[in-house]
Symmetry: C2
């Protein structure tokens, strides 16, 4: 801690509602620092209260708008909200981060809405971990609802969406490719399908496509009866009904069973990243040289590297 | 091996050009069987001859069409071609697999083109590994060029694109979101940017966007001077020029250095999946129960699980 304040003291200030301290802890978590991890570990026993809602979908589906509408509605009920906008962007996409910064101005006078944009730093696998830590921090800090917004296109996004208690998949009619683009497991983890821009032509067709996929999944023995809802995010039409559906799903879950299942998944992901660090980088490079020179096949190399752990 | 034939015999038949044996080995690799791995390990010393070209881009950009055009052109030069169409689809998307099956009919009378569609089976991380094994098999089997086609939207696709010697990023004008959707590192790994449907309005604007991103990357100290080319995949316009650019890039690489770098990356990925299997699943579940019950924080759980390896 740079400015002479202990993790314990920071934690106390966060719990007393000091937003500056929360922002500071969030920065420590985001930078994947040891102190950030220490804060999450120390506050962990306070987690498990917040309702975590994942909002995922292709670019342009209106995720930010629906997140803003949900935040507004929750605030009108007096609930505190944390928003994590995950942007797995390369250094190329400064524009997106700038966009989020601009967006934060909307809520910046309301201490009941805490927003963090998270961009990818290095390895994407780390992003799911950092997002989880951020969500735990906001949960422990007492936010009633945590909204996690992410582009639903890759494996990493699937993992991030899995962090949520209820995952909303947002689609937009007319883009044609949408349903096809959202392949990698994201359809399975959707708890609610939401058709945004429901007043656009093509909304009926999109709903049919979703239903068709659901019955295909049924055929494959993977029942998927996630409800389909329509909204117009720009004017908030259908948003209260959506929140009601989310709450019903949230309350209907077996929290204990879901918790164990979720943590089994999360611990496995954490281990996947963590175990690799136990093998010295130079040893991996040595074997890479042998494999590149065809002196060794990759499976033999992996077995040899694995054996060094014993 | 089910039908009384050894790995060695299968290997010999593949090397003698027997396509049925190659198809059989491909199926063993695709199913991630031990025999599949054994075949790849055994044939590994024969790899390193093929030019591996990755074709990636958003859905609808025309990847299949450009792959077909490249295959046709290469065949007209007498080169043998292997095509791996990676489809990280859920069980939902049978349609896509069916589409590839239909597409294969185009080339099915030509033994010089061997096509495999690979869908995700379970964990996506495994897909990158299986794709690598398939590429190595086709390389060892003597295919002059291996084309690896994948949707460039997630981390897994980035990994798959990294398998290739030269990676082509295909974009289409007018979809607006395209450049933004392709965030997660895929812009950095593109060796050539290709604008398909170059006769569509918006091609100039798309090229400007690509150039703008390249100069942003330059500012960030990540020089990106990948050439930008235009094609009309449907009629083959610009495809010979594209192939020429790919060959120039392929020949310009430092193969030895690239090989070591690539294998360092690949071994790390293989280890990531592999190390996890050394920790018993029930032990992970035990800790997940403790974490779900707030008896332990996740970082303590990971440290405890890691300690069991010693």
């Amino acid at each position: 801690m740079s400015a002479h304040i202990s993790v314990e003291e920071l934690e106390n200030r966060i719990l007393s509602g000091d937003l500056r301290s929360l922002a500071r802890a969030a920065t420590l978590v985001e930078s994947q620092s040891d102190t950030g991890r220490e804060i999450v570990a120390s506050m962990f026993s306070r987690t498990g209260r917040a309702m975590m809602i994942g909002i995922t979908g292709p670019p342009g589906a209106g995720k930010s708008t629906i997140v803003d509408q949900l935040a507004k509605l929750l605030r009108s009920e007096g609930k505190t909200v944390g928003i994590i906008a995950v942007d797995p962007s390369s250094p190329f996409s400064r524009g997106a981060i700038l966009g989020d910064r601009i967006r934060m101005l909307d809520h910046h006078t309301d201490p009941g809405v805490f927003i963090r944009s998270m961009a990818s730093r290095g390895k994407l696998g780390g992003l799911a971990q950092t997002t989880l830590d951020m969500a735990l921090l906001l949960d422990a800090a007492g936010r009633d609802v945590v909204l996690i917004e992410t582009v639903g296109v890759g494996q990493d996004e699937v993992e991030i969406a899995c962090l949520a208690d209820v995952t909303v998949l947002l689609l937009m009619p007319g883009s044609g490719d949408d349903v096809q683009a959202l392949k990698a497991g994201i359809m399975e983890i959707a708890d609610v399908f939401v058709i945004n821009k429901a007043d656009f032509p093509g909304a009926d067709r999109l709903e049919q496509e979703i239903r068709a996929m659901q019955s295909l999944a049924d055929d494959a023995g993977k029942a998927n009866s996630a409800p389909v809802r329509r909204v117009i995010a720009t004017d908030g039409h259908g948003v209260p009904e959506l929140l009601a559906v989310i709450r019903t799903l949230f309350e209907g879950r077996d929290r204990r069973a879901a918790g164990i299942e979720t943590w089994t998944f999360r611990l496995r992901e954490m281990l996947r990243e963590n175990l690799l660090t136990t093998i010295p980088e130079e040893m991996i490079e040595q074997h890479a040289k042998r494999v590149a020179g065809k002196l060794e096949d990759p499976y033999t190399a992996v077995a040899a590297l694995k054996a060094t752990l014993k």
